[in-house]
């Protein structure tokens, strides 16, 4: 029987009622008394010298309160980068300044130049049009390899080149890897592009800054996945506001997918301007603005090679990747192509020698940072395309080649610095094959052929490292932050429980699933537990939600805090029942003395904690509230096997997804309904990357895909019903719930399945010359490959 409450139950989401009735409270729904509006005048050229910004005509326009330019921010810090990568020679990366408003130069289309604050949004927009700009346009660099030529225009004049860093991992292994390739019986090589994407959370970013002149406190309401991180970065590095004078609130947030992790200029601007004009200042992004300001994702160009011995065992992997940073370093950008990518290059396989080289490059494009999966989709795509190509070249079954090389003993230390605690890759592969009826494929292919279509089947594995992260480890790797999580559990006198978590929910359903955990531990109804998040004023310092970390790290903090609550509550119960603490048991919200019929209810104990008339006051403080900070001692390693079946129309090159199946091992699952939903969403994003989505720049750095007319978002009729399964469970060995994290798996595991399926279809159709097609596999690209 499926559980109907607590851990493991598909509890319906409590947050849904407000969202379904229009009662959600998103940042753009917040309007403060006396609020002014800001419109940013942005660069429409990719690269240029800013000779003059003439605001004189605009100053007198109706409703204008004040116009700000880069000059106003000369004494203010720039937007900080939260991760320093050390290059293969031991030198720190090149780290350019990132002013809130452009100073001296503009470096990408969308770079903010001036900010008009006015009584209404329309007046701010109108006045911005009256600002006269004198920009000397400079040649732009867009292509990464061209940007690294000695004569390339420099994005940042004060850096030595457009190379941010040249990273080698593990540098000491390079010679041994090269030697393994020289001895290989077979080498498979693949060059590929991991296409640039725009995250496109459906809610555009919004910021509302407020300043209290009476107390000198600043408040920022913002669309963020991590309000404490924004408070720290903006307060300490940009505006010089101590944390006790700065509150950051991220209320209901309409999706993030990574793009709302980062600290953006508009947040700092609204906070700064609210103090400057002594009025609240609001900014709401248009979608067009989102395309040119929200950090993009992916954008890697890679050559990867696999060495095999005569028995088809993997002996070495060698990669060379160019990773686009865009014009500035976004908050966590340097970590994505390095520590979130290189460390995953072992995949699910026992490859003893691996060398990863990454060159991160500045270009005149929007900054690139973490987007759902962040580095791990790039690693998975390379590896799983490569293994498929190797199987084809060797004439072996791609599933058999994978199984032959699977890691089967755990814990397993990879040659790329991580230790997988647990997993069973054959189990998820077995489950997948059971789900997809592989034996029936030939009959389905014959039917497609009769319909004039080419059918293909693509299968791949994935592993990811999530639940980020052990603070001491990431500190050694260059992180300028700790990656623990926090929770305060406050039990009220009448027994209600409020959990204040440092995690943030922007679609993940924490208000439901977190409550399930605490309710289960104490044995009270879920409705008796309230989850509070998103406001630095009433939650402990937390690092927020990204990297599939909330249940694994935030959930663990909550479990630790609840354990402290239970321990104290048992002491109180022991006192009330005049029993020994060691004999107290808690079940279904009832404290009992083992071996007797004595009992007190949860509510009796909580009341005693706050009305301590009969209470051990000499030994125990009144009250029932505990806080825990949890710092994980390893990543968690969800893994699985994915399969996609496609039909390709040979007349047009159009690819249709016929079916998609995902067999995942997420460890223990708190709410299976929510977990399935997370996988569904990830799959659509991965299918979107594989078939539809592409951020496209022309050679002058003009963004060609700057609206939903040009950027192809997956729609309901682009995707099928998915088959998802998470019944293969190897619990995480190092966190209290045995959970692994499920938020990114779908986006990580799905792109290679789609591309493998299309290549399979073309080969079955006789087009064996097609070894690879770069994503997105649009009809034009597929058709060209077929006829190339």
């Amino acid at each position: 029987m499926p559980k109907d409450h607590g851990i493991g139950a598909s509890s319906k989401r409590r947050e849904d009622v407000r969202f379904l009735t229009g009662q959600g409270r998103y940042t753009d729904d917040i309007n403060l008394h006396g609020q002014a509006y800001v419109h940013f005048l942005r660069s429409d050229v990719a690269h240029g010298r800013l000779n003059k910004v003439d605001t004189s005509a605009a100053e007198g326009m109706p409703g204008v309160i004040r116009i700000f330019t880069g000059k106003d921010f000369e004494g203010v810090g720039g937007l900080p980068c939260g991760w320093q990568v050390t290059d293969r020679h031991g030198n720190p990366m090149q780290e350019p300044a990132h002013p809130v408003l452009a100073q001296g130069k503009v470096r990408h289309v969308g770079d903010p130049i001036a900010a008009v604050v006015a009584e209404t949004a329309a007046e701010a927009r109108n006045a911005a049009e009256a600002i006269v700009l004198d920009i000397e346009e400079l040649p732009a660099v867009v292509d990464m390899k061209k940007a690294l030529r000695p004569d390339a225009p420099k994005v940042h004049d004060d850096l030595s080149s457009n190379l941010c860093y040249d990273w080698g991992f593990v540098e000491e292994n390079k010679a041994a890897v090269d030697e393994a390739f020289s001895k290989a019986a077979h080498v498979t090589t693949l060059e590929l592009v991991n296409n640039r994407l725009s995250p496109n959370a459906m809610e555009p970013r919004v910021a509302v800054g407020d300043y209290n002149t009476g107390t000198d406190d600043s408040t920022l309401y913002t669309t963020s996945q991590n309000p404490h991180v924004i408070r720290l970065l903006m307060g300490a590095f940009v505006l010089g506001i101590p944390e006790h004078k700065l509150r950051v609130v991220a209320p209901d947030v309409g999706g993030g997918f990574g793009s709302k992790i980062f600290h953006y200029a508009e947040e700092a601007f609204c906070t700064f301007a609210a103090k400057a004009i002594r009025r609240p200042v609001k900014w709401t992004a248009s979608r067009s603005e989102a395309f040119i300001t929200d950090a993009h994702g992916r954008d890697h160009v890679t050559k990867i090679e696999l060495a095999l011995d005569a028995e088809n065992n993997f002996t070495a992997i060698r990669t060379e990747t160019y990773a686009n940073m865009g014009a500035y370093l976004s908050t966590f950008a340097p970590s994505v192509p390095t520590w979130l990518h290189g460390t995953l290059m072992a995949g699910n396989y026992r490859t003893p020698l691996i060398y990863v080289n990454v060159k991160a490059v500045f270009t005149n494009t929007v900054p690139v940072d973490a987007y759902r999966g962040a580095g791990r989709p790039e690693a998975t795509f390379q590896l799983e395309r490569l293994v498929d190509k190797a199987a084809r070249e060797l004439g072996v079954d791609p599933v058999d080649l994978r199984r032959q090389n699977f890691i089967t003993q755990f814990p397993y230390a990879t040659p790329v610095a991580v230790e997988y605690d647990t997993g069973d890759y054959n189990a998820t592969m077995d489950k997948l094959l059971e789900m997809i009826d592989r034996d029936g494929f030939e009959a389905r292919a014959a039917k497609s052929k009769a319909d004039g279509k080419l059918r293909g089947l693509g299968i791949n594995c994935y592993i990811e490292a999530c639940g980020i992260a052990p603070s001491a480890l990431v500190g050694q790797l260059g992180a300028r932050a700790g990656l623990y999580e926090s929770a305060t559990v406050r039990v009220n006198a009448t027994g209600g429980i409020v959990v204040m978590t440092g995690s943030h929910s922007h679609g993940q359903g924490h208000e439901t699933s977190f409550a399930q955990v605490v309710a289960d531990m104490i044995g009270v109804p879920e409705a008796q537990v309230e989850i509070v998040h998103g406001d630095t004023a009433n939650t402990p310092m937390g690092m927020g939600t990204y990297g599939s970390r909330s249940i694994a790290v935030g959930g663990s903090a909550m479990v630790r805090a609840t354990e402290k609550i239970i321990k104290k509550a048992k002491k109180i119960a022991a006192h009330l029942m005049e029993a020994s603490e060691g004999d107290i048991e808690l079940k279904d919200g009832q404290f009992t003395v083992a071996g007797t019929d004595k009992s007190v209810a949860w509510g009796d104990v909580t009341l005693a904690a706050y009305v301590p008339h009969n209470y051990p006051l000499t030994e125990l403080e009144p009250g029932l509230e505990e806080t825990a900070f949890y710092d994980p001692n390893n990543f968690t390693y969800p893994a699985g096997a994915y399969a996609c079946e496609v039909e390709v129309d040979p007349e047009t090159g159009k690819v249709t997804i016929c079916s998609f199946a995902a067999a995942d091992d997420f460890g223990n699952v708190i709410n299976p309904m929510i977990v399935s939903g997370q996988v569904h969403g990830g799959l659509a994003q991965g299918i979107g990357q594989a078939l539809l989505e592409n951020v496209s720049y022309d050679e002058n750095g003009q963004l060609l895909s700057a609206s939903y007319m040009d950027y192809a978002m997956p729609r309901a009729d682009d995707v099928p019903f998915y088959q998802v399964d998470h019944s293969c469970v190897t619990p995480c060995t190092h966190n209290p719930l045995g959970v692994k994290g499920c938020g990114e798996a779908g986006a990580i595991g799905s792109p290679p399945a789609v591309v493998n399926a299309v290549i399979d279809a073309l080969h079955r159709g006789g087009m064996k010359h097609v070894a690879h097609i770069d994503m997105p596999l649009t009809p034009a690209r597929v058709w060209s490959a077929m006829h190339g």
């Binding site: 319906k12 969202f19 379904l20 009735t21 229009g22 978002m713």
Partner: protein
């Protein structure tokens, strides 16, 4: 400024509006009905879908001044009179047809318009009808499933979880 009178969720409202005021803006800023969301500026995303005189339209693409005398229903007007969730809303909750909730009002309004036109749509018809509503969270699986369920069809067999 033009004076317009509309019936919004059954209630008569009269306001002065600028010629350029969009219906979405009028609802959100003028009437504080913030359930209608704006997710794009090219009439693509569908987060702003409302019903005007019984037809689903994108409120980011209609001028308030053009709608004098119109009857408008927004997401705030979709629950049952006793405040409980309507069949469609309940189906979205039962089948986890929403995550961040931002596209949800538009999805519910489009679903209601679809089921009015076509009370027992097929999966293909549901997917085709939602062409103008973008969701980034759910991968559409549970939205399609919820709409089929709301139409009274057995979804257990159609969509494995």
């Amino acid at each position: 400024m033009t004076q317009v009178t509309m019936t919004v969720n059954g209630k008569a409202v009269t306001r002065d509006v600028e010629g350029r005021t969009l219906l979405a803006e009028f609802l959100r800023e003028g009437l504080r009905l913030t359930g209608t969301h704006v997710g794009c500026d090219t009439s693509q995303c569908g987060a702003c879908v409302v019903h005007v005189n019984g037809n689903a339209i994108k409120s980011c693409t209609a001028l308030a001044a053009d709608l004098d005398g119109a009857s408008v229903t927004t997401i705030e007007g979709m629950a049952n009179p006793d405040g409980s969730l309507s069949v469609i809303q309940q189906a979205f909750q039962d089948h986890h047809g929403l995550q961040c909730g931002f596209c949800t009002p538009g999805m519910v309004m489009s679903a209601a318009a679809l089921l009015k036109e076509n009370p027992k749509p097929t999966e293909t018809e549901v997917r085709a009808y939602l062409e103008g509503n973008i969701c980034r969270c759910t991968g559409y699986h549970n939205i399609v499933k919820a709409i089929l369920a709301a139409s009274g069809q057995d979804v257990g067999a159609i969509a494995a979880e």
